[in-house]
């Protein structure tokens, strides 16, 4: 007995490509997985599109990655048996930021604050981006998850 599952990968892919054209790069590495790559500025629009057209409400988590040339903020959404990994590319700059998706999906609150704490990516438009994960006396501008963070000196083994 193997259960069958509805698969909406193709539909989502088409819808995103029609709406955003060249701005998005959509991959479908395996069934029920959709990897979407966009620039930072378009990420909010993509989330809005998914929310309004497809009823997206669930965010699993938001991963921040320091990919040397740039930062990546990956939103892991889940929509009707499909996981959408929305990758927003954030250029390396003094104060990196992304648009906050808090107003569309309130469940993203903690993850946006966690990324701000650990990777220093500011969620623009978040009502209360106060410190969440790190202690109160942790120095400002000290982001442990960045690759240039001196981990060995700070005692991570």
């Amino acid at each position: 007995m193997v259960r069958e599952y509805k698969n909406i990968d193709a539909k989502l892919k088409e819808s995103l490509e029609n709406a955003f054209g060249d701005k998005v790069k959509v991959e479908n590495p395996r069934p029920h997985r959709l990897n979407v790559t966009v620039s930072r500025d378009d990420a909010l629009e993509v989330v809005k599109h998914l929310n309004e057209k497809h009823g997206l409400t669930y965010v699993s988590t938001i991963t921040g990655v320091d990919a040397i040339e740039h930062y990546e903020v990956i939103y892991h959404f889940f929509l009707e048996n499909t996981v959408i990994n929305l990758k927003a590319i954030v250029p390396k700059e003094e104060n990196p930021w992304v648009h906050s998706i808090y107003h569309i999906i309130p469940g993203a609150d903690l993850y946006e604050r966690e990324n701000k704490d650990l990777l220093g990516i500011y969620p623009k438009g978040h009502p209360d981006p106060s410190r969440q994960t790190l202690p109160e006396d942790w120095p400002e501008g000290d982001y442990p998850l960045r690759k240039d963070w001196p981990a060995k000196e700070r005692g991570i083994r």
Binding site: T61, T63, L110, D137, P144
Partner: protein
């Protein structure tokens, strides 16, 4: 009476782990609930970058003592997806079996704690006694009562012991009978229902809006379960039911968990009876994982567990992200706390089955006065343990 701020935590008898919930109360009613997490932040995601994939596996085993198998399985599914490994069928069955036994043990543990929070210690003693059946089975299969360490890249470390399956089935039968009795008790016994009904109400809309997961969402009538939505391991072969309840309160969460234990017993029994013969791990597993990324979801006892692994082709993960179910449920819990009574706060916080060790993941102890970091090195620790000699 003026506004009084009642701190629940960082140290509090109702919390097993340090976390701060600051409740502003007006008399007995909570008017504002704030929280501060991070007391248990151990920097596991950072330290994973300095470990090989296999070492990280055993590091993630230690994220949490109760859902350790969930975290390692979730992580290893992601690693195996990146590496393109197909593991033997028997290994999948053993992982599923251990995962379900862990769910039974976790839910019974929760039931006991919930009983303790509402001052019903008899329930606590009984459910923890029955939990021993599962712990004994787990000990025989994996060698440990907690932190099983059964997973390894490419399969599992140990096979099911020879000729023991009948004993396990027998123990599961007794456990099922007891759980049926608890389920009956939960529905028929008045005081438990009177104490838990209507408490910490989470509506279906709020549950969806705040992205609740696991038994918390299911008790609000949201049919979400990764085992159904995106079956991993062998869940697409096993017949079982998705338990939901639509009362949205703590009573609903209790019912959902007790019924889930019964479903888990069925799954565990199916695994034991239909265990395919053959190898239980791959002979050769590459040390270096090819470049790539994977995102995996796993239905942990507390809800959806999520891991993201990226490899740059080396021996160490480039990035390993962990998101425990408790984190996902925190917002919904805080939202529902407003307007309830302080008498209900401990059981309300407990009702999401919180695991803050999972939620926070740096062993940096900072001396606040000097601002200097002080850590206990392993050498010093072992010296300390031996009574300060040498």
């Amino acid at each position: 009476m003026a506004e009084v701020k009642i701190p629940i935590g960082p140290q509090h008898p109702a919390l097993e782990e340090p976390e701060l919930f600051l409740l502003t109360v007006d008399g007995e009613e909570i008017v504002k609930a704030e929280m501060r997490i991070g007391y248990n932040h151990r920097g596991m995601e950072k330290s994973a970058e300095f470990r090989t994939f296999l070492q990280t596996l055993y590091l993630f085993e230690r994220i949490c003592g109760i859902c350790s198998h969930s975290h390692t399985t979730c992580y290893i599914l992601a690693v195996e997806e990146v590496a393109g490994l197909e593991i033997p069928e028997r290994a999948k069955f053993i992982r599923t079996l251990v995962g379900e036994l862990e769910r039974i043990h976790s839910h019974l543990l929760w039931l006991g704690i919930a009983g303790h929070e509402i001052g019903f210690d008899t329930l606590f003693m009984y459910s923890w006694r029955d939990r021993e059946f599962v712990l004994d089975i787990l000990e025989e299969i994996t060698g440990n009562r907690v932190n099983y360490g059964i997973n390894t890249i490419g399969g599992v470390r140990r096979d099911i012991p020879e000729g023991k399956i009948d004993d396990y089935l027998k123990a599961l039968d007794i456990l099922e009978e007891r759980c049926q009795y608890y389920a009956k008790l939960a529905f028929e016994e008045g005081t438990l229902a009177a104490r838990l009904s209507g408490v910490h109400y989470l509506s279906k809309e709020k549950a969806i809006e705040l992205c609740a997961c696991g038994p918390m969402a299911r008790a609000s009538g949201v049919a979400t379960d990764v085992r159904f939505e995106e079956p991993y391991l062998v869940y697409d072969q096993i017949p079982f039911n998705l338990v939901t309840y639509d009362s949205g309160d703590i009573f609903g969460r209790t019912v959902v968990r007790v019924l889930e234990v019964i479903e888990s017993i069925k799954i565990a029994r199916y695994c034991l009876q239909n265990m395919p013969p053959g190898e239980y791990r791959l002979e050769k597993v590459p040390k270096k994982i090819p470049e790539g990324e994977a995102f995996s979801r796993y239905e942990a006892p507390r809800g959806e567990d999520v891991h993201y692994v990226r490899s740059d082709g080396g021996e160490n993960p480039y990035r390993a992200k962990v998101r425990a179910p408790t984190m996902q449920n925190l917002l919904a819990t805080m939202e529902s706390l407003k307007g309830s009574y302080i008498a209900d706060a401990p059981i309300a916080i407990a009702s999401m089955d919180p695991c803050f060790s999972c939620t926070d993941r740096i062993a940096l102890v900072r001396d606040i006065r000097s601002g200097k970091e002080s850590r206990i090195r392993f050498r010093d620790l072992s010296k300390y343990g031996k009574g300060g000699e040498r």
